[in-house]
Symmetry: C2
Subunit: 154 residues, 2 copies
Amino acid sequence: MSDDDRFMTQAIALARENVHRGGRPFGAVLVMDGEVIATGVNGVMETHDPTSHAELVAVRIASHKRQSPILKGAKMYASGHPCPMCLSAMRIAGITDIAYAYSNEDGTPYGLTSAALYADLRKPLAEQEMTFTYQPLRPAGEEDIYEFWKHMQG
Amino acid sequence: MSDDDRFMTQAIALARENVHRGGRPFGAVLVMDGEVIATGVNGVMETHDPTSHAELVAVRIASHKRQSPILKGAKMYASGHPCPMCLSAMRIAGITDIAYAYSNEDGTPYGLTSAALYADLRKPLAEQEMTFTYQPLRPAGEEDIYEFWKHMQG
């Protein structure tokens, strides 16, 4: 079995165990230099936390472990196609190599797809299903927070 | 002072306190039915967690507090324009009303903008700065994980 198949088999096994525990069928394995540095499962049912997706959980665990928000060079093996939140989280962490075993098309008959959210988020913000308001408040008598941050950087 | 200005003033004050503590200039206040249900600040410097953005932290705290991943009807007051990860997290949580005090344009001179990531994520996946591989592994002799999940739903 190739390394790719071995890591993906583990991601799918994590998803399966999660369903046994009453969770959703999503698992993820994060690999760096041929070693698993973190795993995650979807914990939304258990924790009520909407951000508790398998990939995001794995990113959090790996960054805590490595004491770095940057996980460049890591590869994510996700049982399901990452949603836009997890994709963005990986990009922010510098992870640019992602494999997934179930596509959004595979998940569509089960309602396990983020295709609609992807489609909406690709629209200009003004056309998305939300209200985005620029409210440029600048409290009087206080240094601008971005200037303050810049000064603190020294 | 309007409610909107009061909540945004709080978000900016949180950002300012966070800079005092060595963090980044981002704060967020999540409001439901006129009450603050959670706040968050950017904790990346302190926790090394790349997902520790102000809005995502506020969503996590609110969902734990309310024991629900759905925060429909809540409004997010963010000091800075939400990044794609936080925007997606809010959408997943059903939050569709967002105000921000600093735009990506306001942040550009300080490098505090997610405009480039937004632009990249709007491209088709195949054109984005990452490798996305469909690896449709289906372990032999085991029930399909999505079918298994469907059966567990009863």
